[in-house]
C-alpha cells in the first residue's frame, strides 16, 4: 500500500513538468502554432472591422440617431437617399472626381516614371522630391492648397492674372461648381501622383534591357518602343496601382472636407463627406451609414479583381 502510494506521488510529482512538456509539444505543432500566431490579428479584425461593418448594415436598416438606438425600418433609409437630389449629385460627383483624378494620375504617373527611369543626375534627390506630397499629412498640405486657391489673395489667381491667362478678378475657385471640382481633382492628383510614379518606375526597372535592344534592332522609334514594349509590359503593375487607387480615390475624405466641405451647393460632395455631414454632424447615423455603404460595391469590385489577379500570378 505504502509503496503504491509513494509511486502515485512520484508520478504525480512528475505530472507537473510532464503537463508543461505536453503543452509545449502541443504548441510546437505547426498548425497549433500557426493558429496561435494569427489569433490576435483575427480577433482585432473581427471586432474592429467585421463587426463594425455588420453594424453599418444594421444602422443603415434602422432609424438610428446619435444617442437613441432606433427601430428597424427596412430599406427606408436607402429609399430616402435615392430620392434625394443631394445624394444623386454626390454619386455623379464621385464618378467625375474618381474618373478625372485617376486618368490624370495614370497618364502623368507613367510619364513621370519614364522620365525618372532615364539616366539623370541627382536621381535619389529627384525621387525624394517627387514622393514628398505623398508622405506629408494630406490634411495639412491641403490647407496650403486652400490658401493657394483663395479667390482674393490666392497665388493661383495672382499668377494666372499676371500671366494674362485669366481676366482681372479671376474665378472664385472654391465657390464655383466646376472650378471647385477642378480644384479638388488637382489636389488629389498632386497627392496621388507620386504613388503612381514610384510604383510604375519599379515596374519599368524590371523590364529587361534586351527587349529594348531587340526593338531598336528592328528599327522601332522611341515612340513605338513605348507603345509596343513598355506599355504592354507595364500592364500588370498598372492594373494593381489603378485598382488600389480606384478604391482610395473613390472613398476620399480629407481633401474635399478641408477644401470645400462638399460645397458649393453640394457639387463636390463625395460619399464619405456626405456621410460625415449627415451621420455625424446631422446625427442621423442610419442614413449616414447607408450613404457610406454605397462605397461597398466599388470595394467589392476592386477586391474581386485584385484577388483574381493575385491568384493568376
Amino acid at each position: 500500500m505504502a509503496v503504491s502510494q509513494r509511486a502515485l506521488e512520484a508520478t504525480g510529482l512528475r505530472g507537473g513538468p510532464g503537463r508543461l512538456e505536453r503543452l509545449q509539444q502541443w504548441w510546437e505543432q505547426e498548425h497549433v502554432f500557426g493558429y496561435g500566431l494569427i489569433l490576435p490579428a483575427l480577433v482585432l479584425l473581427t471586432c474592429l472591422v467585421a463587426y463594425p461593418f455588420g453594424m453599418a448594415i444594421y444602422f443603415s436598416l434602422s432609424d438610428y440617431w446619435v444617442g437613441s438606438p432606433g427601430q428597424f425600418v427596412g430599406l427606408n433609409n436607402y429609399r430616402e437617399i435615392l430620392g434625394n437630389d443631394v445624394f444623386r449629385q454626390t454619386v455623379q460627383n464621385s464618378f467625375v472626381f474618381t474618373g478625372c483624378a485617376l486618368t490624370l494620375k495614370t497618364v502623368l504617373g507613367v510619364w513621370l516614371a519614364v522620365l525618372l527611369a532615364r539616366d539623370v543626375r541627382f536621381k535619389r534627390l529627384l525621387r525624394g522630391a517627387v514622393l514628398l506630397p505623398w508622405v506629408i499629412p494630406t490634411a495639412l498640405s491641403t490647407l496650403g492648397w486652400w490658401w493657394m486657391f483663395d479667390s482674393l489673395y490666392g497665388v493661383v489667381n495672382w499668377t494666372a492674372i499676371g500671366l494674362g491667362i485669366m481676366s482681372a478678378p479671376g474665378p472664385n475657385w472654391l465657390g464655383q461648381a466646376n472650378y471647385a471640382m477642378a480644384a479638388v481633382i488637382v489636389v488629389n492628383t498632386w497627392r496621388g501622383l507620386p504613388f503612381f510614379a514610384i510604383t510604375v518606375l519599379a515596374g519599368l526597372m524590371s523590364i529587361p534591357r534586351e527587349f529594348y535592344e531587340a526593338a531598336e534592332v528592328d528599327g522601332a522609334s522611341s515612340r513605338q518602343r513605348f507603345w509596343h514594349v513598355t506599355l504592354p509590359l507595364l500592364k500588370p503593375v498598372l492594373a494593381v496601382v489603378i485598382l488600389f487607387s480606384t478604391i482610395f480615390t473613390f472613398s476620399d475624405f480629407n481633401i474635399v472636407q478641408i477644401l470645400t466641405r462638399g460645397g458649393p451647393m453640394n457639387t463636390t460632395h463625395l460619399f464619405a463627406t456626405l456621410a460625415y455631414q449627415i451621420g455625424l454632424q446631422g446625427g442621423n447615423l442610419g442614413q449616414g451609414a447607408a450613404i457610406s455603404l454605397f462605397l461597398f460595391p466599388m470595394l467589392a469590385m476592386v477586391v474581386f479583381l485584385q484577388l483574381r489577379y493575385i491568384r493568376r500570378d
Binding site: 504548441w27 505547426e30 493558429y35 496561435g36 500566431l37 494569427i38 490579428a41 483575427l42 482585432l44 479584425l45 474592429l48 472591422v49 463594425p52 461593418f53 453594424m55 502623368l108 522620365l115 525618372l116 539616366d119 539623370v120 529627384l126 525624394g128 522630391a129 514622393l131 514628398l132 508622405v135 506629408i136 499629412p137 494630406t138 495639412l140 498640405s141 490647407l143 496650403g144 490658401w147 489673395y153 497665388v155 495672382w158 498632386w190 507620386p194 514610384i198 510604383t199 496601382v241 488600389f244 487607387s245 478604391i247 482610395f248 472613398s251 475624405f253 472636407q257 460619399f271 464619405a272 456621410a275 447615423l285 451609414a289 457610406s292 462605397l295 470595394l299 477586391v303 485584385q306 493575385i310
Partner: protein, 285 residues
C-alpha cells in the same frame, strides 16, 4: 565626328529630360515652399493685393509661430500625435509580425482564407467604417480620448503591415529555419532569433509606414475626439485654427509646417525604405 554627333544628341536628350522633369518637381514642391514662406509673412503683406506672393518682401516674422505656441495647445497636439502613433504602431507591429509569419511560413488548414481575409481588410477604406466605429469607441468608454485612436488605428495598420511583412518573411530561406528547429530551438525562438533579424529591413519599413499612417490619419481623429486638449496635431491645426469665418492664414500655415516636420525628418532619413516599401507593399494612395 560620329562620336561628337552622338554626344550632342545625348546632351540634347538629357536637356529634354530635365526640361520635362522641372514642371513635375515644381508641381510637387511649390505648395510646401509656399506654405513655408506664408508662415513667415506679416499679415499686412499677406492681405496686400499688390505684393508679389512668391517671396517675403517686408521682412520675415515669427509672430505666427508665437501665436501657435502661446495661444493654442499646439504642443499638446504634437505630444498626443506622438503618443498615439508610437503606441498604435508598436502594438500593430507585434500583431502583424505574428500574423505575417504565420501566413507566410506555416502550413495549416485555412491559411489561404486567412490571408485573403487580411488582404480584404487591407482594402477597406476607413471612410466606410468611421460611423459604426464611433459607436464602438463610445461603448468602450473611450470617446474623446487619444485611446480611441490607439484602439482603432491598428484596424488599418495590422492588415497593411502583415501584408508587407509577409513579403519579407518569404525571402528568408526555409533551410535556415529548419536547421534551427533541428538544433532544438522552439518555433518561437526560431521566429525571434533567426527570422526577425533577417527581416530587419521589412520591420523598419513597416514601422516607418505605420508611424506615418498614424501621424497623417485624419477622419478617425476628427470624428472620435472633440476636446481640444486630446486632439492630434493634424486635426488640431485643421480644426482649431479655423474659427468661424476668420482664418488665421499665417498661423495655419505655421501649424501645417511644424506638424509636418517629424514626418519630413523621418522621411529624409529613411528615404530608401519609403521607396522600397511603396514598391513591395503597394500602399494605399
Amino acid at each position: 565626328m560620329a562620336s561628337t554627333a552622338s554626344a550632342r544628341a545625348r546632351r540634347l536628350r538629357a536637356a529634354m529630360t530635365y526640361a520635362n522633369l522641372t514642371p513635375f518637381v515644381f508641381f510637387a514642391l511649390f505648395p510646401f515652399y509656399f506654405m513655408f514662406v506664408t508662415s513667415f509673412k506679416r499679415n499686412a503683406e499677406l492681405y496686400n493685393l499688390k505684393a508679389v506672393p512668391f517671396w517675403i518682401q517686408t521682412g520675415a516674422i515669427t509672430d505666427h509661430y508665437d501665436f501657435l505656441f502661446r495661444r493654442t495647445e499646439f504642443l499638446t497636439w504634437m505630444k498626443n500625435s506622438l503618443m498615439v502613433s508610437v503606441i498604435a504602431m508598436s502594438v500593430s507591429l507585434v500583431i502583424a509580425i505574428l500574423a505575417g509569419y504565420s501566413l507566410a511560413r506555416l502550413r495549416y488548414r485555412g491559411v489561404g482564407s486567412f490571408g485573403t481575409a487580411v488582404f480584404i481588410t487591407y482594402l477597406v477604406p476607413p471612410t466606410l467604417l468611421f460611423l459604426p466605429l464611433s459607436q464602438v469607441v463610445h461603448w468602450l468608454g473611450l470617446s474623446d480620448s487619444i485611446w480611441a485612436l490607439v484602439v482603432t488605428y491598428p484596424t488599418f495598420l495590422v492588415p497593411f503591415s502583415t501584408w508587407l511583412l509577409m513579403g519579407y518573411f518569404r525571402t528568408v530561406p526555409r533551410e535556415v529555419e529548419e536547421c534551427a528547429l533541428v538544433d532544438g530551438a522552439s518555433r518561437m525562438q526560431t521566429l525571434v532569433r533567426i527570422v526577425l533579424p533577417m527581416a530587419v529591413p521589412g520591420l523598419v519599413c513597416a514601422a516607418l509606414f505605420g508611424f506615418t499612417l498614424c501621424w497623417n490619419e485624419f477622419i478617425y481623429a476628427l470624428t472620435f475626439v472633440s476636446q481640444s486638449g486630446n486632439k492630434t496635431a493634424v486635426v488640431g491645426v485643421t480644426a482649431d485654427l479655423i474659427r468661424g469665418d476668420i482664418y488665421y492664414w499665417g498661423s495655419l500655415m505655421a501649424g501645417a509646417v511644424l506638424a509636418s516636420v517629424p514626418i519630413v525628418v523621418i522621411y529624409v532619413w529613411f528615404l530608401d525604405y519609403y521607396v522600397s516599401g511603396l514598391t513591395t507593399g503597394a500602399v494605399k494612395g
